[in-house]
Symmetry: D2
Subunit: 258 residues, 4 copies
């Protein structure tokens, strides 16, 4: 029984030499940021500094959302049983799925559909947005990436779009995501603002990330948040306490200026 030969184009390991996508790892350290490395590993080529900054801002935007997301609850629940750190993190990651984090990928697919329609049928952005929204409303299908169960004007959305403008990524996908919001208001009579998932989706498309990988960006972003909650659970509380996530009260620092 012999295995098939196979090729890998990611990393070459030789004694005292580590080449990631052809670059010596020690050359990358200190020069290329971790967010840029994410892009290099996935896409095979180094991104511009602004792509790196954009990815950095995306990761920061989703770094944590308190104790209510299922990923946090799964991670903390597992941590409370005496699990190792990696097992608690793995549980949190297993909770990042279609209905938690998954709106990013879904919103990217709608934007792609709308931009493709715009190009194929030679429509304006607004025309394509209206056609797509009309189509979804007629089929009573939900367009993901709009509205939020807590936030009506998500501060992360505005900031992401501001940064996208600053870094040069306010292209057709970002415009389309706003045009869809406008078409929603006109055709559906609903004022559903783009949420952070929709904004991340638009910007990830702008920098060329395939929608299939959206989930991974959310996972990378949320990892430090999960780590903080797991650490808090392990250091502040006794194991196997009865956890009622609806009772959590914030006792951290008051609002402060950067």
């Amino acid at each position: 029984m012999s295995g098939e030969n196979w090729q890998t184009a990611i990393t070459k390991i030789e004694p005292n030499k580590i080449l990631v996508r052809g670059y010596r790892l020690q050359d990358l350290m200190g020069k290329v940021t971790y967010p840029q490395m994410v892009y290099l590993l996935i896409k095979g080529e180094l991104p511009s500094e602004n792509i790196g900054r954009m990815i950095d801002a995306i990761l920061v935007s989703s770094v944590d959302h308190g104790v209510t997301p299922p990923s946090c609850q799964a991670a903390v629940t597992v941590a409370s049983t005496g699990a190792t750190l990696n097992a608690a993190l793995a549980s949190g990651i297993l909770a990042i799925n279609e209905f938690h984090g998954g709106a990013i990928e879904k919103s990217m697919r709608v934007m792609q559909e709308a931009v493709d329609l715009m190009i194929e049928e030679k429509l304006s952005i607004e025309e394509a947005a209206r056609k797509i929204v009309r189509n979804y409303l007629d089929r009573k299908k939900k367009i993901m990436g709009y509205g939020h169960r807590v936030h009506t004007a998500d501060p992360r959305t505005k900031k992401l779009f501001d940064l996208a403008a600053q870094y040069g990524f306010s292209g057709d996908y970002v415009k389309m995501s706003l045009a869809i919001q406008q078409a929603f208001k006109e055709l559906g009579g609903k004022d559903l603002p783009i949420n952070v998932d929709g904004a991340i989706g638009a910007v990830l498309r702008e920098i060329g990330i395939p929608s299939e990988l959206a989930n991974a960006f959310f996972i990378m972003a949320r990892l430090p948040g999960l780590l903080a909650h797991i650490t808090e659970e392990k250091t502040r509380y006794r194991p196997m306490r009865r956890i009622d996530f609806t009772q959590a009260e914030y006792d951290g620092p008051a609002e402060r200026e950067l």
Copy 2:
């Protein structure tokens, strides 16, 4: 049946307001880097820019090591069965344990032991290092963080220490890790260079990260690498192929300059 009240000091969520450790998330985006956020979330306070740079370099240093590490093999094996992205990533993370990635934490404990001994017994760094090494050699115990099964002069180690010097983190822990290497040579007759785990451990101690969290830094670092291998598996190969990791051949870009 009622849950206990509990407090959380990490993130406060209100409608249209997300405070991470007291800071408005939109203020952090674009100003504070993801590596700095890791520190803020864990420690509760913003780090200096240089701490951020140091964490960034640590994450980049461990971003990938080809197809042979068990975390990659577990992730790729699971990916080959048609698993979702998060399940494949979770499997990879479940392989980061005492014997894979765990040397960072172990090396931190030895360094702490040595630095504590130095302070308590008012020894020089060299004296403390020799005492610790003598003690380990006598008990035939292994000091983790020295030697590597592939690399004799790991290029990541030198670069990490260079950057640590540049950013101002060449304190007692870094010095102790080098003194232990020297003591090993003198007392044990073995020229075991500090490996990347030992170097990361020394630098993490310099910036005040507790050893219990070392594993999480390795996990965060390795995530983009695992993602790249999973994506390669899913896009280049058919599901359920027979995978022989010993047969993998590199067919990516040739060595190139940054």
Copy 3:
């Protein structure tokens, strides 16, 4: 922030009383077998003894398949890093997906499609089978549950069907699975015998298990096998050895009679 009220119909816990689907757990112990409990928990009612025996035989049929399945490889790889038992088992389970174990569910869907067609169009089993196979061949789609990469006459298949006959479960689904095999031969010119996945699928449908749960039966079945491999790895081998699954040699007991 208050949680929604919710109902659960599975188990009622009171001091000194545990009711599973209404039965006192101590009454079930020693009287009802574990395979019967699987059915009770899922379906809400106690199964006949023969259903219990059928589930037992299904679980035994899939209990292990050596070191080559990805679930074993993921579990052993993770175990070799010093993982806890549950983490290694979880990794193995994460590898049981569409392309590993998933053929059971897929074959159940085809059988259901064929049996539904038989009823709707008032066809004989053979006619329905031919119509379904013709349809799949025309669309060049694969019917799962037939053929195996190692076994041409899988001994588990024959035995499962024998036991199904003995226990009274050779109904339409089992007959249909055989009729599809025959139709394959006639229309496609291929002699693809039902494999163990197809046989399990047929029998699970006979006893009323929904296809969505097929994966869980495979997971329950394989758990003791994964446990044995993990234990072997932890007790016979040193951590982080280089594992080449293509090199594994069997050194257990020679073939023996029961």
Copy 4:
């Protein structure tokens, strides 16, 4: 880079032949029960029918404990995000650790310690029990396997011991577990009855299962329960509902006779 040769003594796969510990799998099906297979896989030899019955009763005893255990909460939380069945099960398993399920292993270690002491120092069971309890009380250490946060007279414990007597497994370990309970009462003034974990531990030792594998027995036992809760979540509730485990109300069948 070549892998090491390695041996495996569990299962031999040849075309049309599957030997588990030397037995043809088709011979085992229908003759040997799943609980017996668990033993065969772990220990390498077929157990008696009574060992099979004992394992069966152990598995049934721990099959479910409602919605409050962390394993259930982790599994249901992950299921609510749209996770696949295996990911939700894996999360539940990752919650079975030192403080949830782990008391079985810990109680086995204490019993072993006590039985070893009895043999070494030629004590009676009662003398050994008192010496061990005295020792634990003096060191203010907890002996696991006694007392329960819900049940004062756990009905599973009595039934397990009754079945153990019936099947012939009321040996030194079972006697010691009861002697420790008695010694607790006399020396510590606490009436802490053996709980189900302690009872399972005693019986597992009686049938020769190593304490390191106790966790796996709990995982196998609990799997059908987790499956039922996951299925209930997926079929009765909308995704991403707010789950408050403290609010769960039982609406299943009323108490009924077997």
